[in-house]
């Protein structure tokens, strides 16, 4: 057998590696490396031509340095030169360097491809393999273009060496994955399939992978592989263990090839041909039988190899799901593994049984193992095994065992690892709902969840319990009583306060007859939690209080006192303050009838699939690695994505949209949004669903917590697409054509394409601004995964703060959603923030970038002043850098009224009678920023004859004068 000594062949390399290993510190290592890099650089640049050996040695050193984590920016050419060497060792180092270091867009790719081409044509199997491995490792499009037609030829040629065939098969597989369009198989298909019959099992091993991948993409073309795969598998499993010699691994015949063949068969339904089918069944039975035979070796390698094949056979049995006998045998076999001393086997048995549980043939057989699985939950040391036990309990749950399973999961939750708590909570919530016969059990279960693991109970879970309680009047009284009792605990989780507040606000009257839970007691109980809660919960409680005023007129005075207290009416949080103000006012002015109408019990929610399911799916798919494989098709040709999209469209969860609020001081509600943003365009949404109309009651009050069902078209925050990695993203579409239009106005359409319309409404006060962005879906398909972000460049970042409120991730067809942006001007600025929008339409990810029209002049406050004051200040600002002047040609018709309107829109006060020439305009204003205020004086002199304007700005800050002139001069 071969053995190699340390670093033989390249002494200099070994010395260098030793030196690096002897470095005591990072600094000395860097020093040594820099010395070496300088040395290599000088050798490469030197006059003396290097011999192949030296070149190889230095390139290898560079590679070593790169692998240590240092950048390498030279040596590529020398590596490419090594490719044309006739010595294997030199060529090998060259190819290795290329595979590790050269990216596909390198300029050298043509030279590399040329060398590969020569090697492929060399008829030297060693060189051919090196070239093929390089293509398989790099797999770039350029290589696919150059070699995709050549490789199948090599693969099927009669005189190709076996080892080259192996490499060619997998090389082709790689190119097919990266550039499927360039690798048409057509004419080669039959000959590739026949590789399954090859004498050499190594060739079959490689070819099976290729065929499996191709069969997943076009099953029909590779149908004939089924019979060949069955025949091959049959020969392997019935062979005596020594027959296959080189391919027998610890007494198991060709385990990896068997696994691959069984995988290939999973691309297809059970064979229709009866003899083929019975031959396959025999194979599967033989594999199951072997599991019962005494082991031929005590080594773990033996049992692992044997069981690798067994688990794959079971996977095929489950995939076919057509032979009850095999399914039950598989289940029994896995049942034995559940108690095996090998942790690996217990884990795999739990995992595999999970899929068996979903088959009607084996579901009952799986259920018989419930006690073992519950025991695993309690005793397994490895959290990943316990996780599989939870999964299996979830999968085997049905009406007959749901109470036991939910109880066990709840009790496990008390001690469960933090990493899996949220998932268990979701599973319990789903099972409790799915198998609830009486809903008191459901309510108890969810409250228990909150008690045991309140922090892991996501919004979806407590939204859902409220939806269900509201929809089922048989459970409302019980729910009210139960939350009331649960709230008695001195310390209860905030989620319980939310559920309690909501339910008592709706159904507190059902238990108010009992003096122990009289209205006042209920209110005091809720209010005792108020001060410990976060703002959103407090907001919800305030809504519950106003509902109480309707339910229980006798506590009206008490609640009004609370609302009236300074801690509410002058609360620093605008949301709470506004609610207190509005609710108090509502309770004072509205008649009992109006109160009863406004604060009526919530109507039932439309029945829909639980949003918790979607959440669970999302959890499973979080934090993905990017995936090269785009084909996730199953054998029926439908895609996983389509299935999930369907789930997504079924489950539109409710959403608690935030009320619209304005600036901080207490003020009566305003209705900025009553008019449609653009009356001259067809509006994408039907009537004003999103835009409140003026009514007696502040309409936004009940767009919040209490009216969960009023906006069915909004929502789906949980459905941010999990599968975002496998549809191609359309290139970002940008737009700023509408930007200049917003210099002198605040409302209008900022962006529109065939899919989306974006409207804006903005208001500014001093250095603060608020922008309402309306996204209208113009299509007849919903937008999924809708998300936005605002970005600023490095200069703008510290000058302007833009804070975005959340936006619905789903926009229904024809609907409109709104997003609020809060803006703060820190100091004067001249760039504009970019609003980046991303959403999924059909299968494509859309990216849109819009320049947001937030300009410096938005922070103008107009200033009136007398003519005398104006001229005095004008003179004070006389320094050359304070004045900026621009003379420009009129782009539009020169109309006095239009100009006036524009200047007012720009933000300054127009001062009449200041300028001796009445045709000229003079204006003044103050730009407010957080850090400073900048006074601005402006003069615009039109010359109608010349069709020119002269604009002069004087401010105390040069950059401000400059920017204002830029902005305003474009407007005329």
């Amino acid at each position: 057998m071969p053995a190699v000594s340390k670093g033989d062949g390249m002494r200099g390399l070994a010395v260098f590696i030793s030196d690096i290993r002897n470095c005591k510190s990072k600094e000395s290592e860097v020093k040594r490396i820099n010395k070496e890099l300088a040395n290599i650089r000088s050798k490469f640049k030197g006059d003396k031509a290097l011999d192949g050996y030296s070149k190889k040695k230095y390139v290898c050193k560079l590679l070593f340095i790169f692998l240590l984590g240092h950048d390498i920016d030279f040596g590529h050419m020398e590596a490419v030169n090594l490719l044309s060497s006739n010595k294997y060792t030199e060529k090998q180092i060259g190819y290795l360097f290329i595979s590790v270091l050269v990216n596909s867009n390198s300029d050298l790719i043509r030279l590399i491809n040329n060398a590969i081409k020569n090697d492929l044509a060399s008829r030297n199997s060693t060189f051919m393999n090196l070239a093929l491995h390089c293509i398989a490792n790099v797999g770039s499009r350029e290589m696919a273009e150059a070699f995709a037609s050549e490789i199948p030829r090599i693969l099927v040629a009669g005189d190709t060496m076996d080892s080259v065939k192996q490499s060619a098969a997998l090389c082709l597989l790689r190119l097919n994955r990266t550039s499927p369009d360039l690798v048409p198989m057509g004419e080669w298909t039959a000959r590739v399939v026949h590789l399954l019959n090859d004498q050499h099992l190594g060739v079959v091993t490689a070819a099976t992978s290729l065929i499996t991948t191709l069969a997943q993409k076009s099953p029909d073309d590779f149908k004939t592989s089924v019979s060949l795969a069955v025949a091959r598998l049959s020969r392997i499993v019935t062979s005596a263990s020594i027959d296959l010699q080189d391919y027998t691994y610890y007494f198991v015949a060709a385990p990896w090839l068997s696994v691959k063949l069984l995988r290939l068969l999973q691309c297809y339904p059970p064979p229709e041909d009866t003899s083929l089918r019975s031959r396959l069944t025999e194979c599967l039975e033989t594999i199951l039988n072997k599991a019962q035979e005494p082991p031929k070796s005590k080594k773990v390698q033996h049992s692992n190899a044997k069981n690798a094949v067994l688990f794959e056979a079971i996977a095929l049995i489950i995939h076919h799901d057509s032979e009850p006998n095999l399914l039950v045998r598989a289940c029994n076999q896995l049942g034995q593994f559940l108690q095996h001393r090998e942790t690996n086997l217990r884990y795999l048995a739990l995992e595999s049984m999970c899929t068996l549980a979903s088959s009607e043939f084996s579901h009952e057989a799986v259920k018989t193992h419930i006690e073992t699985v519950i025991n695993a939950l309690k005793t397994e040391r490895d959290v990943s095994v316990r996780q599989r036990a939870v999964d299996l309990l979830y999968a085997m749950c049905d009406r007959s065992n749901s109470k036991q399973i939910v109880a066990e999961m709840l009790s496990y939750l008390e001690t469960a690892d933090y990493s899996i708590r949220e998932e268990i909570v979701l599973k319990v919530a789903i099972l409790a709902e799915k198998y609830a016969v009486d809903y008191t059990w459901y309510v108890d279960t969810i409250l228990n969840l909150i008690r045991i693991a309140g922090d892991y109970v996501s919004e979806e879970v407590w939204y859902r319990v409220i939806q269900i309680v509201i929809n089922r009047d048989d459970v409302q009284g019980y729910a009210a009583k139960t939350v009331f009792e649960a709230l008695q605990a001195p310390a209860c989780h905030e989620n319980l306060v939310k559920v309690g507040g909501y339910i008592l606000g709706e159904f507190g009257n059902l238990i108010a007859g009992d003096p122990r839970s009289s209205p006042l007691v209920q209110f005091n109980l809720l209010h005792s939690k108020f001060h410990l809660c976060s703002v959103p919960t407090r907001a919800l409680l305030l809504s519950a209080y106003i509902k109480f005023i309707n339910l229980f007129p006798e506590v009206k005075g008490t609640i009004q006192d609370v609302l009236r207290s300074d801690s509410q009416l002058r609360n620093a949080d605008v949301e709470l303050q506004q609610r207190a103000v509005e609710y108090l006012r509502l309770s004072c002015i509205a008649s009992t009838d109006i109160l009863a109408t406004v604060l009526e019990e919530m109507p039932p929610f439309p029945e829909r699939e639980s949003s918790i399911l979607a959440k669970l799916k999302k959890k499973k798919g979080s934090s993905k690695l990017p995936d090269m494989d785009d084909s996730r098709k199953n054998v029926n040709g439908s895609t996983e994505h389509a299935e999930d999209a369907e789930v997504a469209s079924k489950s539109l969860p409710s959403r608690y949209s935030a009320p619209l609020l304005f600036f901080s001081v207490p003020q009566p509600p305003q209705f900025l949004l009553e008019e449609l943003i653009s009356t001259d365009r067809p509006h994408p949404s039907s009537s004003a669903t999103m835009l409140p109309t003026r009514t007696m009651v502040p309409s936004h009050t009940f767009t919040d917590d209490l009216s969960v069902n009023s906006a069915p078209s909004s929502g789906a925050s949980l459905l941010v697409d999990v599968f975002s990695d496998f549809s191609s993203a359309a290139p970002t579409e940008g737009s700023d054509e509408h930007f200049p239009r917003f210099v002198c106005k605040n409302n209008g359409i900022i962006y529109e394409n065939q899919l989306l319309q974006i409207g804006l409404k903005s208001e500014y006060r001093q250095n603060l601004g608020r922008m309402y962005v309306f996204y209208g879906n113009k299509t007849s398909t919903q937008f999924l995964s809708f998300s936005t972000s605002v970005s600023s460049n490095n200069v703008l970042g510290p000058q302007l703060n833009v804070q975005e409120k959340p936006v619905d991730p789903l926009i229904e067809a024809g609907a409109q959603v709104q997003q609020i942006l809060n803006i703060e001007c820190v100091s004067d600025f001249s760039d504009a923030p970019i609003l980046n929008i991303q959403f999924r339409y059909g299968g494509t990810l859309q990216n849109i970038a819009v320049k947001l029209p937030v300009m410096l002049n938005k922070f103008f406050q107009p200033t009136e002043m007398t003519s005398q004051d104006f001229f005095q200040r004008w003179k004070q600002l006389g320094a050359p850098q304070q004045e900026v002047q621009k003379i420009f040609k009129a782009k539009n018709q020169m109309d006095t009224d239009v100009s006036k309107a524009k200047l007012l829109g720009f933000g300054v006060a127009l001062l009449d009678g200041v300028d001796p020439n009445p045709a000229n305009f003079v204006g003044a204003g103050i730009i407010h920023t957080k850090t400073t205020q900048v006074g601005c004086l402006l003069r615009l002199e039109p010359n109608t004859q010349a069709q020119m304007y002269r604009l002069t700005l004087r401010t105390s800050k040069e950059s401000v004068s400059q920017r204002l002139v830029e902005l305003l001069s474009e407007q005329f």
Binding site: V4, D246, Y247, L348, R632
Partner: protein, 150 residues
């Protein structure tokens, strides 16, 4: 009929020592250098905290790592969650046995000083993220032949 997504593919192979030094990193899909470094660190963090009573499998992002420890070295293969755990676990062992034979009682230093040969061994046994050759005899014969070309 069951719904199956089949993807037999190795995403990467890593050999790390207990201190987290990488002794081999073979990538079968495109990552940029920062991402590679992140993956290396994450794998190390996930794998080294596990003890002998744990399984040889660990969930990793939306894939899984099949790993085995030999003395101070962790051999890790990242595959799809639907892939066959035991097949890859034994593929690791098969690979280690080949290294052991080739380097004559392999130790960590062999992998350091002969890193460029280790790549050759890997390419003989795994290619394009798939198992290429499983016969130890065939692999060693090929390696011996290449050795003779030095």
């Amino acid at each position: 009929m069951g719904f199956v997504v089949l993807k037999m593919k190795i995403r990467f192979i890593l050999i790390q020592n207990r201190a987290g030094k990488t002794r081999l990193a073979k990538w079968y899909m495109q990552f940029d250098d920062d991402e590679k470094q992140k993956l290396i660190e994450e794998v190390h963090a996930v794998v080294t905290v596990r003890d002998a009573k744990h399984t040889n499998f660990v969930e990793f992002r939306n894939f899984k790592i099949i790993y085995r420890r030999y003395a101070g070295l962790y051999f890790c293969i990242c595959v799809d969650v639907t892939d066959n755990n035991l097949a890859y676990l034994e593929a690791i062992h098969n690979f280690v046995e080949v290294l052991n034979e080739y380097f004559h009682n392999v130790c960590e230093l062999d992998l350091v000083f002969n890193f460029y040969k280790v790549y050759t061994v890997v390419d003989e046994m795994f290619l394009a993220g798939e198992i290429r050759e499983t016969s130890q005899t065939k692999v060693l014969k090929q390696l011996l032949m290449l050795q003779s070309l030095e």
